[in-house]
Assembly symmetry: C2
Homo-oligomer: 358 residues x 2
């Protein structure tokens, strides 16, 4: 099967090997003449999938002891609610947030219903084209929350701040793309549908000891302890999404793990940003020091060339390059499964445009 | 591919044609050389899937005007929370529930955190082997809640009560198995993983006008209006689970719809219950008048024959027959996709056991 160069922002490209195995499992899983999606989630074959997925997360990210790994539902959007409910004290609860994009803003809105929120860093003044730095976090907040990578705007935290409180991070769009020190975080969450798998499950990595201290009566399904005590099987889990995530993590491990992919992601980013900076027809949108390795946002310096450029990349088998409506221009999402040759294909199109207009 | 006779309680059997199409879409969806699970949920091909799925629900169940159809996440367990948050008044909220099994009990636990709950019917005295009837529902409750089919215990409501309030029903394990009059309900919800599709999405059918009357500040993701206003695309939906649900609903429509399947389900149930009642080696667990057409619970009259019986049905290619731990014995789940020939295979095994022991 010839594949497109898929630059979609998410749901996004997955490794072809993973897609093949997932396709096969939908017909015949485990050579048992049953489909993956028609067996009990409590059957041995699926319990093994869940355990393997959890084990791979722990191995790939070197998760220290004392942390639980969960596969939940509802996406990062439900985490926006679960985080304050589980971590913000019922009486006098406070949290510090950074406002670095659409998703960060939604997380702030949700937290405000549970306590006082201090927005300690905010890049909305420049349509979120940079990462705020050097902000002060009040000593007495229950936790600090940040978004590691801003999919829509193409910015990424390169150095996480030191915080006086619990550290919570939404890593939906860059988890498994680079090395992180899990011990520096108390709670990490991520919708699967970028580097981990298909839409339909949310990864949560949580330090067990931080739970149970808010004085709140937390609804069963929104209480992390519910899911920890049942190994993410309190109710029927999203079987297919977890299986494909497991396959994708296994693919990552087989190829050399996070260290390998970080090096490759750096190469891909360097290749594309170099061309954006070199080619007078293009301009990057995000501040250079905050540029995301996952989502590269850029525009044409002369918008009248849009039609020609679009034709060229479409003819080259490239898809998913249109920018988000709130930013405009173009966005090349280069998640783990996107190969260097796809970035080369895009860079060649950009060079071709220059030649044609010379 | 030779298929097993899959009597699993859920996730459970799906039509083979659906599995084939789903498997293909994971590799190449819409003949576009992209996988279903690596395209944007906002792309035209997936928006069409969502619209088609919603349209099929409306058509198959003859949903009247004024109702919305949603595909959410979190399973029925999250609905246990969303129902009281969306329907129970913040001040002096009251609701009536029936306690007919494990899931009903969980829904009651969750509702109690939001207001006063009257358990108006309760079959826990006989390990839930019957459906309570003739109970009184207080006139002033905000809503009445029942579970149409109790998967674990094998009981099913044959005639829904007349209620003086809003009518809410958890139909997770029998939706699309028989004709229902949607206009008699104000809110219906159902986890997909029985008659509708794979685990990972929850169907909600809701009368729009009942929302917004509680005085509560409902968290964004738990507010039905959030999802109604965004056509179930407030955040990334569980793409694969919705696609396979759409395929399954299309399969149902192509074969003759709910009327056709109800007739077939009646035949399957009659065949198996007749054998249970005829064969002196077996005994049904649920009260006859409340027997479920979806989940048939039964035991051996002589438990020393268990080993032989298990051998016989395993040799016949039957799977998923073990009863739930809280009931024991056997449970034959006969969801829509289970064919009459599978029930025949089971009945033949039961007859064979009788012959062997004669």
């Amino acid at each position: 099967m010839s594949k497109k160069h898929n630059f979609s922002a998410g749901p996004c490209i997955l490794p072809l090997d993973v897609l093949k195995k997932a396709s096969e499992a939908v017909l015949n899983f485990n050579n048992d003449n049953l489909s993956l999606i028609e067996i009990s989630h409590r059957s041995k074959p699926f319990v093994e999938v869940m355990e393997k997925a959890v084990g791979l997360v722990k191995e790939l990210l070197e998760v220290p002891k004392g942390y639980s790994v969960l596969f939940l539902q509802g996406g990062a959007s439900l985490e926006f609610l679960m985080v304050p409910l589980n971590l913000m004290k019922e009486k006098g609860g406070k949290a510090a947030y950074t406002n670095t994009g659409v998703w960060a803003k939604k997380s702030i809105t949700e937290a405000k219903n549970s306590g006082e929120v201090f927005v300690v860093g905010d890049s909305s003044d420049k349509n979120y084209n940079y990462i705020p730095k050097g902000y002060n976090i009040p000593e007495d907040v229950d936790y600090f929350h940040c978004t590691s990578n801003n999919t829509i705007f193409g910015t990424q935290i390169k150095k996480f701040p030191k915080v006086p409180s619990l550290m919570v991070c939404d890593m939906s769009s860059d988890i498994f793309s680079r090395k992180i020190e899990v011990s520096k975080f108390d709670l990490i969450y991520a919708g699967a549908q970028k580097n981990m798998g298909p839409a339909g499950t949310t990864l949560v990595i949580i330090k067990d000891e931080i739970l149970g201290n808010t004085g709140r009566n937390i609804p069963t399904m929104l209480n992390y302890n519910t899911h920890i005590s049942k190994n993410s099987m309190f109710n029927t889990p999203p079987v297919f999404a977890i299986y494909v995530s497991m396959l994708t993590l296994q693919w990552l491990k087989d190829h050399g793990g996070v260290e390998w992919i970080e090096e490759l992601n750096n190469q891909k980013a360097e290749l594309l940003y170099n061309e954006i900076d070199r080619n007078p027809l293009f301009k990057g949108i995000a501040e250079k020091e905050d540029r995301s390795n996952m989502n590269v946002t850029f525009t044409l310096t002369d918008s009248s060339k849009e039609h020609l450029f679009n034709q060229l990349w479409e003819n080259a088998g490239i898809s998913g390059l249109k920018g988000h409506r709130s930013v405009g221009g173009y966005r090349a999402s280069m998640y783990n499964a996107l190969r260097l040759e796809s970035v080369n294909a895009l860079v060649n199109v950009m060079k071709n445009l220059e030649k044609k207009l010379r």
